[in-house]
């Protein structure tokens, strides 16, 4: 059984805000969670921020603890019964239940990604080839209508993200704050779009992207959610062979990660950029970008991506006749960054 977590205390939250704002507080009275009269006029005061965030966060943290059990209860139910419960059981209409379902969707997608990347497994590259240009989505639709009808059940990642959206549609944004709900909406649409993309349904992925954009604009401004959505956009444009747009999106994602000083994710964005350059036939640029990305990521956090990128790097070097470099790269242990070429 999952362990039940207690919600954080006001003191914990005030301390957390103190840690974030750091020594700016050194000259302020240290009564956690209480704003002094001088601070009450200053909305940037950590004590005042902690105080205003407390009620909101305490509720969400309490819900998070509850959501673990609520979602666990759904685990063994058939899909249709799960859907009915999620639609009609008001006890499940919680922000944290949607968040939990989203987290499970992401876990499934990561597991599927890993399985796809093992040699011999079907992968994203099995998406039917599409002509280049802005008509790609429409063409995908035409291909789908010409192909014999086949009804495949949605992947677990897509089903879970869709369930999270089902819950979000039933919660009151006023209870949680609109931006908090909008952020989660954007993340759910991004997750659903990514799952649709993996299923090869480009038109549905495009629709999810548009939805995600709309919700993100009404959200809190979270720069990492924006970067993740741009990363998804670049993956979609890559699958549509709209390489210029894919590069624009990944460069914007990369900039956001850099602004937030998240080196690991910036490195992953560089690896995606290398993938786009490779697909566009720019192997030399792909090699440079791939090396840059490999030097930035933490291989322990992204072992699969690191291995895959290194394999592609060796392949590119060999394809360009740079056999010595390819051999040296192939002989390197995976955890080491590549040599600058």
């Amino acid at each position: 059984m999952p362990e039940r977590k207690d919600p954080p205390s006001p003191t914990f939250l005030a301390d957390l805000v103190r840690q974030i704002l750091g020594p700016t507080l050194s000259d302020r009275p240290a009564v956690p969670g209480k704003a002094t009269s001088a601070e009450s006029d200053d909305f940037l005061s950590p004590n005042r921020l902690a105080q205003s965030a407390w009620a909101h966060l305490a509720r969400l943290e309490r819900e998070r603890g509850e959501a673990v059990f609520r979602v666990e209860e759904l685990r063994d139910l058939p899909a249709e019964e799960r859907r009915l419960r999620l639609e009609n059981d008001s006890g499940l209409h919680l922000w944290a239940v949607a968040e939990r379902l989203l987290a499970e969707s992401n876990e499934h997608r990561e597991a599927q990604d890993e399985a796809d990347r093992t040699p011999g497994a079907p992968s994203l590259t099995s998406i039917p080839s599409l002509p280049a240009g802005p008509m790609a989505v429409e063409t995908a639709g035409t291909l789908a209508t010409l192909a014999p009808p086949k009804i495949a059940p949605p992947s677990p990642a897509a089903a879970l993200a869709a369930e999270a959206l089902l819950v979000l549609d039933r919660i009151d944004p006023k209870v949680y704050g609109a931006s908090c709900v909008e952020d989660l909406y954007a993340q759910c649409h991004t997750a659903l779009g990514t799952a649709r993309l993996a299923e090869g349904d480009l038109a549905a992925a495009e629709q999810e992207l548009a939805e995600a954009y709309e919700h993100l604009e009404a959200g809190s401004g979270d720069i990492l959610s924006r970067a993740q959505m741009l990363d998804f956009e670049s993956a979609l444009r890559l699958a549509q062979r709209r390489y210029a747009e894919a590069l624009t999106a990944i460069d914007r994602a990369s900039r956001s990660f850099r602004t937030a000083r998240d080196r690991h994710f910036e490195g992953l964005a560089q690896l995606r950029r290398a993938e786009i350059l490779r697909a566009a036939g720019r192997r030399t640029d792909a090699i440079v970008t791939c090396r840059k990305g490999l030097a930035m990521i933490d291989p322990d956090r992204a072992l699969v991506e690191a291995k895959r990128a290194r394999r592609s790097l060796v392949h590119d070097l060999a394809a360009l006749g740079r056999h010595d470099e390819a051999a040296a790269e192939a002989a390197r242990p995976p955890a080491l960054p590549p040599e600058e070429g």
Binding site: L13, L16, V17, I20, L21, G22, P23, T24, F43, L44, L49, S52, A53, H56, L57, L60, G177, S179, C180, D183, E217, A218, G219, S220, G221, D222, I223, L224, R226, S256, T259, A260, R261, D262, R263, H264
Partner: protein, 168 residues
Amino acid sequence: MFDLQPKMARILARYRIPVDDAEIIVEELFSTLLLKRELIAQPERWLLSSLQNRCLLYWRNQRERLCRSLDAGLLSVFAGDDVPVSEKESIRSRLGALAARLSPLCRERIAQRYGLAPAAFATAGADSETAADGLEECARLDDETMRCLTALTRRMLRDGLTFETSDA
């Protein structure tokens, strides 16, 4: 870390965010930060860059709201049977003069939307029909139309132009 608060204040001032809205923005951002604390590598950098992003979104949303309300106002004037034809013509003529200074694409979009194209001037009934269609379309402005409306609104604000109707 030492100067995070002044930096946040500087960003809010640079983007001229009204104080009441700024307070809500900062509170929401802090709630998000605390909720996602395990995923954020550098909280202070995240906070500053997300604040900047939110300020940009704030003005983009405000601008969009302004454009939508201008659009809805114009469409309801052109669709209203109680607005005299001469008044509609006067507004249309001023709108045409403004639209003439926009790009050809925007000129065409604006003309189509408010019945400024020569064909749309034929009868008053046709005007109302165009505007009524526009009212239905109002909630679904595509990106290109929104860009053109933004350009029109900006031009209108720059020229200090206002439209006064008889019921205003």
